[in-house]
């Protein structure tokens, strides 16, 4: 109920239009129901009485009243469409804006695919429910009540029959909602399973072919496709029974009207022929609300959880908050001395409680212009550590300072203007290469773009593309190879011209020679910038001023390559395993 109240709150002053909508609906219902009554008069006073004037007279009324009903409905439709479309727009943009305010921690807990579903499907569900609700929620009871009243007043002999029909159709509607619709939901689940099976087969097609197991795959697929068939058949069988049964009820009711009404006319106990025919029309008017409910109720019940999910986004508070009294900083004067002072960190659990620590008591100093390399196995905490510097996450304990100021004292936007990071996942966006390269840059000049591309070893392949920097980047950068995407992402980071530069395993898809070139270029152009390199390959960090070896979130060793070779057995082990004991000649082991 709360979610509905909140939806009303969003509508604010627009709510008064909903009142108008209800009035319009009631008016339209009355007009719609007046039509059979008039046709009854047309037959009785016109045709049966052989009076052409009356026939035309009543025929004209029927048309005029139908037109009025239609006009009222059209206005109501306009209200419904405006409300639904603009509420959808509002929810969508508010939710998206909210997402833009969130931090990495929030994004980790809400997966992108889940957010996408909320912004598309859930918004769509709400939209349809609002539209259908405004169109029909008032219409259904209005029609039912007025029809029953009309029958009760004009043909009281049929009221029992009409009530019986209402009851039977209520039962059929219940059967549909509780038994048939779930069958369709089951069918959809089977479809999803089939989709999953397909996805897996196709992404593993190399493995399928390598082991020549096409036959097994065919059998497996036949099984899931078979379960789709079974589920579909079940759902459709229910429909095959339900629809003709509804028709049967209507036909039986028609027969009953002719029998009860006809008997009454023939025996002269009060019915007229016009009344019998009007009753037939009332019967159809009585059934209509149930047909409407059959489509509207599922839509509305689907919309409620959707609305809750959308509001959930709107209510999410960012993990990382800007300081109330930010430190004043002149970006030009920042030196880039980064200090980790007994830093510990743990991700938050999905329920927002503090999870286990993944970084423990990390302390080090990075002097301006130095290169610090982080080395460690997957899951050792390297990426997490560098993500703390631009405050993607806040430290759990200890503090990080830049030139002596706690980074939590900077507004996030200022801080991230100083610190540029090339993330592990090189996301490119639909647009031109130029737009992508200058995505984070204050300096939008060609010079900056080309220098950055050259330094990232990307200028070469860009030169081979027909329209060079003006050429297009497909969604997700799909028209570039993994290595090319990485180099474009590095160029984008370099173009931001930061004081502190972080490359998070950004050259993993490049060969060692390319990687070496990029590093040399960076050292040359960003001599005074503090640089952090995260790597799985020892070659990436071997030339760093200091290498920090992380193990299980703790600093296992720290020093230059030469020092570590001597002092750290763990480092030696990695070195031996990756670079083969550093043996140059000598041959086989």
């Amino acid at each position: 109920m709360n979610t509905l109240v909140r939806l009303f709150g969003i509508w604010g002053d627009y709510k008064k239009w909903l009142g108008l909508s209800i009035l319009l609906t009631i008016g339209a219902s009355i007009c719609t129901l007046a039509v059979p009554a008039i046709s009854q008069s047309l037959i009785n006073d016109g045709i049966t009485a052989n009076n052409l004037g009356m026939v035309i007279h009543y025929g004209g009324y029927m048309l005029i009243i139908t037109l009025i009903a239609a006009t009222l409905q059209v206005v109501n439709t306009l209200i419904a469409v405006k409300f639904s479309e603009w509420t959808a727009h509002y929810l969508r943009t508010e939710a998206y804006n909210r997402i833009q305010q969130l931090s990495f921690g929030n994004l980790d807990r809400m997966r992108p695919s889940d957010l996408l579903m909320r912004l598309t499907n859930d918004v769509q569900n709400v939209k349809i429910a609002i539209q259908q609700g405004i169109l029909n929620l008032a219409l259904v009871p209005a029609m039912l009540i007025i029809t029953v009243l009309l029958v009760a007043i004009r043909s009281p002999a049929l009221i029992g029959l009409m009530v019986l029909i209402v009851l039977v159709f209520t039962a059929l509607l219940a059967v549909y909602l509780w038994f048939v619709l779930p069958d369709f939901a089951t069918r959809q689940k089977k479809y999803d399973l089939m989709g999953g099976a397909l996805q897996e087969n196709m992404s593993g097609i190399r493995v399928v072919k390598a082991f020549v197991r096409q036959r097994l795959e065919n059998e497996r697929f036949a099984e899931v496709a078979g379960s789709v068939r079974a589920a579909s058949l079940r759902a459709q069988t229910s429909i095959a029974i339900l629809i003709p049964t509804m028709l049967l009820i209507v036909n039986l009711a028609l027969a009953a009207i002719f029998f009860i009404g006809g008997r009454s006319v023939i025996l002269g106990t009060g019915f007229s022929i016009g009344e019998v025919i009007a009753s037939v029309q009332y019967l159809f008017l009585l059934i209509m609300p149930f047909m409407i409910l059959g489509t509207v109720l599922p839509a509305i019940s689907a919309a409620r959880p959707s609305l809750v999910r959308i509001f959930e986004i709107l209510d999410t508070g960012a993990d990382v908050q800007d300081p109330t009294t930010p430190a004043t900083v002149d970006p030009a004067s920042v030196q880039g001395r980064v200090v980790f002072d007994h830093v510990s960190f743990g991700y938050k659990n999905p329920d927002n409680t503090q999870g286990p620590l993944v970084l423990r008591d990390i302390s080090f100093v990075a002097e301006p212009g130095q290169t610090i390399g982080f080395l460690g196995a997957t899951g050792s905490g390297k990426s997490t550590l560098v993500n703390l510097i631009p405050r993607f996450y806040d430290v759990t304990d200890g503090r990080i300072t830049i030139d002596g100021t706690d980074i939590r004292a900077f507004p996030q936007d200022t801080l991230r203007g100083l610190v540029a990071i090339c993330l592990q996942q090189p996301n490119l966006f639909f647009g031109t290469i130029r737009e992508n390269l200058l995505f984070a840059a204050d300096d939008q000049s060609d010079g900056n773009m080309i220098t950055s591309a050259t330094d990232a070893d990307a200028a070469g392949f860009i030169a081979n593309i027909p329209r060079n920097y003006e050429d297009s980047v497909a969604r997700h950068g799909a028209n570039f190879s993994g290595g090319q995407r990485q180099r474009l992402a590095i160029a984008r980071t370099l173009a931001a011209q930061p004081k502190i530069l972080i490359l998070d395993d950004s050259t993993s898809a490049c060969d060692v020679a390319t990687e070496a070139r990029i590093q040399d270029n960076i050292n040359h152009r960003f001599e005074k910038v503090t640089k952090f390199l995260v790597a799985q390959r020892i070659s990436t960090v071997i030339a760093a001023d200091r290498i920090i070896l992380l193990e299980d979130g703790k600093i296992a060793a720290s020093g230059t390559h030469e020092q570590l070779l001597l002092e750290s057995p763990q480092y030696r082990e990695i070195y031996d395993s990756q670079l083969g004991r550093g043996i140059i000649g000598g041959g086989a082991s």
Partner: protein, 598 residues
């Protein structure tokens, strides 16, 4: 982009006739049932018309005023029996049709799937997985919707129109003409109105999919947007697109919904016109009032029939487009095809010869040129070189995923092109860079390598690959189900499983594409041990990303720009101080401490 344009073009020029005929091929095994459906539909339509006539008769009896009650009772009994027949015919025909539709779809889906399994890898390079998925699921679903709903409605509508028309003509030709004029006029007008809503909906769909595409891309790049401080820009772009969708949505939805109102008005117009003109005829004595009432019923049946056909028309077109997209895939021929009567590859020893091999994925763009080497049974060959040099390509053509442009590849002296590709491939175990596992039990994943592999063999292989211990630590041991292709295992554990799987396959040749990602040193050691076990007594080709993995190779092929630029053992190549030496030394970045043997 160009690909999208192309597929759009083909959608417009689909071969309607052949597609429909081909699809009927899928229905033909169910001829008897189909005949029953058509018969029952006709019966259904006929009985509906009879029901209308009976109502007319009842009206006539009633309008005659007081009289005997028996005739009315007789008509009511007839009405009840007709209703019962309609009911039964309706249920059986719908049920049969659902049966036929589901059988045909199952066949279509499995045919499509097994056909896709047969296609060569270049097909999967050309077609994104998403597109293929949509053909097997969405396109077949569109067809399903048509057969199970559309076909039924169309069939009923056509039969209703025919039977109703005949009966109308039989009862009263003048009324028939009158009804037809009114109905056709109404159908025409509403068709014109529907046409105006169509383009708005197409535009809405386009804008919505633009918005969804944008949202998907920018949400998955949310972290990059934060890192690049572009949140405000992203919000503005989103709002602009969302606004477009809302504006067009307004138009499209409004015109669609207005249609409902227009059709309500129209049905009243129909009733009034029939009542006025028909009433006049009744008054002139040209017809009975009951006939008039029946004809109102008939006219609605006609109106419904025609409207249904118009509505279903779009569905039919969609279904044909869907079917043609499905058949398009089924018409794809594997580019790497076995020669007719190609013999089975005999059990090999693992003697591999590349003899002046050239290869290009796209004609004219050579990826490999003039590659010649000879690997003797049991030898280990290392392949190294810069990214994109062609290392993986050598592997892809040895397994005959692609056919070479010129030269020959011989295994044990047999040209690989001359034998059945599956019988060659099954003799080459592969450990790929990305450890791909199926969402099934660990045991099922191991057994995947070879048909008929036993539990014992798999456990033995797991032991050799150092995977046995961690498998036993899983909740259900070998019967643990891997979620999402193994996301409940670590990267290193997944690699060990793929190694164990290759050991289960147990062939004479091995291809190993080394994983780039790092695991902790302990796991790394276990993996390396497993790999060495795997290489034993097998002709092995190892693509190395870290040169240390191939230092022990009998021969290292250094590949640059599609050519073998250097070859020899590690020590020989280092002494040569050429390309390999440079590559090797670049790993150290001039940090020579710890290096021995200079």
């Amino acid at each position: 982009m160009t690909r999208r344009m192309k597929s759009h073009d083909t959608e417009k020029n689909i071969p309607m006739g052949p597609t429909v005929r081909r699809f009927f091929g899928y229905l033909s095994p169910h001829k008897l049932k189909l005949a029953a459906v058509i018969f029952l539909m006709a019966l259904f339509a006929l009985m509906e018309a009879v029901f209308s006539i009976l109502m007319g008769q009842a009206t006539n009896i009633i309008s005659a005023g007081s009289g005997p009650i028996e005739p009315l009772e007789q008509v009511v009994v007839l009405l009840l029996s007709t209703a019962a027949i309609i009911w039964v015919a309706g249920i059986i025909s719908q049920k049969f049709l659902a049966d036929i539709a589901q059988e045909a779809l199952l066949k279509l889906r499995t045919d499509l799937f097994s056909h896709i399994q047969m296609l060569s890898l270049d097909f999967f390079d050309r077609r994104p997985i998403g597109e293929l998925m949509s053909r097997v699921t969405n396109d077949t679903q569109v067809i399903e919707q048509f057969i199970s709903i559309g076909a039924l409605e169309t069939g009923q509508a056509i039969l209703t129109i025919i039977i109703t028309s005949i009966i109308m003509l039989w009862i009263n030709p003048a009324f028939t003409v009158l009804s037809y004029i009114v109905v056709i006029a109404l159908v025409g007008v509403s068709w014109l109105i529907t046409k105006t809503a169509g383009p708005a909906f197409t535009l809405l769909q386009e804008k919505t999919s633009d918005l969804n595409g944008f949202t998907e891309e920018w949400l998955s790049g949310a972290k990059t947007i934060i890192a690049c401080r572009q949140q405000d820009d992203a919000s503005q772009k989103f709002e602009a697109q969302s606004k477009k969708v809302a504006l067009i949505g307004e138009k499209a939805q409004f015109s669609a919904l207005i249609n409902q109102q227009i059709s309500t008005v129209f049905s009243t117009v129909l009733t009034v016109m029939l009542l006025v003109v028909g009433g006049l005829m009744v008054m002139e004595g040209m017809a009975e009032i009951g006939t008039l009432i029946s004809f109102i019923g008939f006219s609605f049946a006609l109106l419904n029939g025609f409207t249904t056909i118009f509505m279903v028309y779009a569905q039919i077109l969609n279904a044909i487009v869907g079917a043609s997209r499905v058949f398009e895939i089924m018409d794809e021929k594997p580019t790497v095809a076995d020669a007719e009567n190609a013999p089975v590859m005999p059990v090999v020893e693992g003697d591999v010869v590349f003899d002046h091999v050239d290869f290009s994925y796209i004609q004219g763009r050579k990826i490999l040129s003039d590659n010649t080497f000879h690997a003797k049974p049991g030898q280990v060959f290392g392949l190294c070189g810069p990214t994109g040099a062609g290392k993986s390509t050598i592997i892809n053509i040895l397994t005959r995923y692609y056919d070479i442009s010129s030269g020959t590849i011989r295994v044990d002296g047999t040209d690989v092109k001359s034998v059945q590709q599956d019988t060659l491939r099954i003799q080459i175990a592969q450990v790929l860079q990305e450890p791909f596992l199926f969402s099934d039990t660990i045991m099922a994943n191991l057994k995947y390598a070879r048909e008929g592999a036993t539990d014992e063999e798999c456990i033995h292989a797991a032991k050799q690959a150092n995977a046995h211990d961690f498998i036993l630590q899983q909740p259900k041991g070998y019967n643990t189900v891997l979620v999402d292709g193994g996301s409940n295992l670590s990267q290193g554990q997944r690699q060990m499983l793929t190694i164990a799987r290759a050991i289960v396959a147990n062939p004479k040749m091995l291809i190993l594409d080394e994983a780039t990602s790092n695991v902790d040193t302990r796991t790394e050691k276990l993996i390396q041990e497993g790999l060495l076990t795997l290489q034993k007594d097998r002709t092995s080709f190892i693509i190395a990303h870290r040169l240390s993995t191939i230092r022990h190779a009998d021969q290292i092929l250094v590949i640059d720009k599609g050519q073998i630029v250097e070859r020899g053992k590690h020590s020989e190549l280092m002494e040569k101080r050429g390309f390999y030496y440079e590559l090797y030394m670049s790993q150290f970045r001039g940090k020579l401490a710890g290096i021995t043997g200079i």
